[in-house]
């Protein structure tokens, strides 16, 4: 997938106050390109979660059109979405969506076993780089939210990616840890050449964004 285009998209819940909308994204024509980095800044209540949900196929309560390489995503089937989530778009969820019953390693493996993308050594190296190597076999619900965020990132990187969506990725991380996380993302971006769409309502992950958009 090379581009994601939004054409006059607006969440339906905003439909009755169209005239108040002043946004770089809603009701505009925007294109995200593979290989480039975008930061979307938003105050809360502006529909940041909605945007991620639309792009990831979780919701479709919007007006306008969203195109993946010129094909309208509103007609994608469940299986097509599974394929996209397996080999094209990856997301670091704001609420992480990890499985409490599984260990940190298992939480990554439950994905990598399906995508066959990251081997065990790569995964363990990433745990080490992010400073949670000692937590490999610890149940995820015994980790702090910051540690869980790092596990979720390792899981998100365990697949072929055209676009990586980061939904408030560093909300619970200190400067040092957010820097290592950024380095890992950028290294993987250099390797795979994916586009990055990061959102933020305050602190954002520190990198050279090609474009900053206001929601």
């Amino acid at each position: 997938m090379k581009t994601i285009k939004l054409q006059r998209v607006l969440p339906r819940i905003f439909a009755d106050r169209k005239s108040d909308i002043s946004s770089d994204i809603w009701l505009s024509d925007v294109a995200f390109e593979r290989g480039r980095s975008y930061l979307i800044e938003a105050d809360s209540g502006k529909g940041k979660s909605s945007l991620c949900s639309y792009l990831y196929g979780q919701r479709n309560d919007y007006e306008g059109t969203i195109l993946f390489d010129d094909s309208d995503i509103s007609s994608l089937s469940l299986d097509e979405w599974s394929a996209i989530r397996r080999g094209s778009i990856s997301i670091l969820f704001q609420d992480l969506k990890l499985f409490a019953e599984l260990t940190a390693l298992e939480n990554v493996e439950i994905k990598s076993q399906i995508t066959h993308f990251s081997d065990r050594a790569t995964i363990e190296r990433r745990f080490e780089e992010l400073g949670i190597a000692d937590k490999l076999n610890t149940r995820i619900d015994r980790l702090s939210f910051g540690q869980q965020q790092r596990v979720a990132l390792i899981r998100a990187l365990s697949q072929p990616i055209d676009f990586l969506m980061l939904d408030e990725p560093i909300s619970h991380l200190d400067e040092r840890n957010s820097a290592t996380m950024r380095d890992m993302i950028l290294a993987e971006q250099r390797r795979q050449g994916f586009g990055i769409i990061a959102t933020s309502i305050g602190r954002h992950i520190d990198m050279n964004y090609d474009k900053v958009l206001k929601l």
């Binding site: 949900s53 990831y56 979780q58 919701r59 479709n60 309560d61 469940l78 299986d79 599974s82 989530r85 397996r86 969820f93 969506k97 499985f99 019953e101 599984l102 298992e106 493996e109 439950i110 994905k111 076993q113 399906i114 995508t115 899981r155 697949q159």
Partner: protein, 394 residues
């Protein structure tokens, strides 16, 4: 698979699955035993060497008043009967239209009696003999008598009169002297009993002899048919009884009993299978409900699995595996139990009726496989629907 199993096995209720398995086994066992019992017993009621009767009926018109009334079948009536759907074949009894006088030397004394002959197409004769033919006036007349006659003598008459019992072989060795007369002729011919019939309740001679004799000794050439032998597909079928009632015909008791027994068997088996079916449907219902509940309890996890790229097929796999194994367990237990029960009742049958039932348990096995596969397919379909629903929930 191991991880997804670890994730989803929570909330599995052993109790619910146990109820499903028990209900499933009960239902499957009842159905399989029902069909197996039916397939084992049916040949005993309809086959050549049947327990009660067979697929042949002897049909007559009832005698309504003393004297000579017409109990003969007209050609039209016979043809109409032959055209009925349930009739496979139909034969007419041809009776002797001349005087028959039989005598036999017994203990140095000559015993004589008036008698009659009947003939029917050879294909209806249930006695295997190479002597069933007649070559003209110089040859001997082969005769078949009902086995009942011999039994009546051996078990009814001889014992009370202090007379010796006689064997079939002895009777076959005795030469009879038959005098045939009519139409100005009178001839003596030797005759011999060549067999005993369970099916034909008459003194039977070959058709070729009867035609020859009627031509030579009978005054008129009119053919009179007072009895019919009818081969039917299923004497238990209600339409057979209905037709007989409607036409005012009567079937000999033996065949009628057989058809009643067969009808009862069919009804009881249908009831048994229905009960089994109810149990099975109930068990499928329990499983469906319990899987629904399980999926519902895990719905958050299932949705998350879908979000991290699992397809509905991936997610459904562990559930499919559970139901397939449960259904396999039900099939194995039911089929083993059915075989044990079959061995038991076959033992009773051979003990009570002295009949060894051939055949195999293939009916139960094939039915079991078909049912299990169908039930599993149904389960898989339900799981698939439910999981797709959950995965696509936004």
């Amino acid at each position: 698979m191991k991880l997804i199993w670890k994730l989803l096995r929570q909330h599995i209720s052993i109790g619910e699955f146990a109820v499903f398995v028990v209900a499933g086994i009960v239902g499957m066992l009842i159905m399989l035993t029902g069909v197996q019992l039916y397939s084992d017993i049916r040949p005993m009621l309809t086959g050549e060497k049947s327990l009660i009767g067979n697929d042949y009926m002897i049909v007559t018109k009832p005698v309504k008043r003393v004297g000579i009334s017409s109990t003969n079948f007209s050609t039209d009536e016979v043809e109409a009967f032959r055209r009925e759907e349930f009739v496979i074949d139909l034969g007419e009894f041809l009776s002797s239209q001349y005087e028959v006088y039989g005598s036999v030397m017994f203990n140095g004394r000559k015993l004589s009696t008036m008698m009659f002959f009947e003939a029917v197409d050879d294909k209806f004769v249930d006695v295997e003999t190479d002597r069933w033919h007649f070559d003209g006036i110089t040859s001997s007349i082969p005769i078949i008598i009902p086995r009942n006659y011999l039994n009546l003598y051996n078990f009814g008459f001889s014992q009370t009169q202090g007379l010796p019992q006689i064997t079939e072989a002895l009777i076959k060795s005795v030469e009879l002297d038959i005098r045939l007369s009519g139409n100005g002729y009178s001839d003596h011919l030797p005759a011999r009993v060549v067999g005993f019939s369970d099916r034909l309740n008459t003194i039977l001679v070959p058709m070729e002899f009867m035609q020859w004799a009627n031509e030579r000794y009978a005054d008129s050439s009119a053919k009179e048919v007072s009895r019919l032998i009818v081969e039917v597909k299923n004497p238990g079928a209600p339409e057979v009884m209905t037709y007989l009632d409607q036409m005012g015909y009567q079937a000999e008791e033996k065949a009628a009993e057989s058809s009643k027994a067969l009808f009862l068997l069919q009804v009881s088996v249908a009831v048994i299978i229905f009960i089994g079916l109810v149990f099975s449907i109930l068990s499928i219902f329990i499983l469906t409900l319990s899987i629904y509940l399980l999926i519902e309890k895990n719905s958050e996890k299932l949705r998350n699995l879908a979000l991290i790229c699992y397809t509905p097929q991936h997610i459904a796999k562990p559930y499919n595996l559970i139901t397939a194994s449960l259904n396999l367990a039900i099939f194995v237990v039911s089929i083993v139990a059915t075989l044990l029960i079959r061995a038991k009742y076959l033992g009773y049958i051979s003990e009570i009726f002295g009949i060894e039932v051939g055949g195999t348990a293939l009916v139960a096995i094939v039915t079991g496989i078909i049912l299990s596969v169908a039930i599993t397919a149904f389960n898989v379909l339900i799981i698939r629907r439910k999981i797709r629903l959950i995965s696509s929930k936004r």
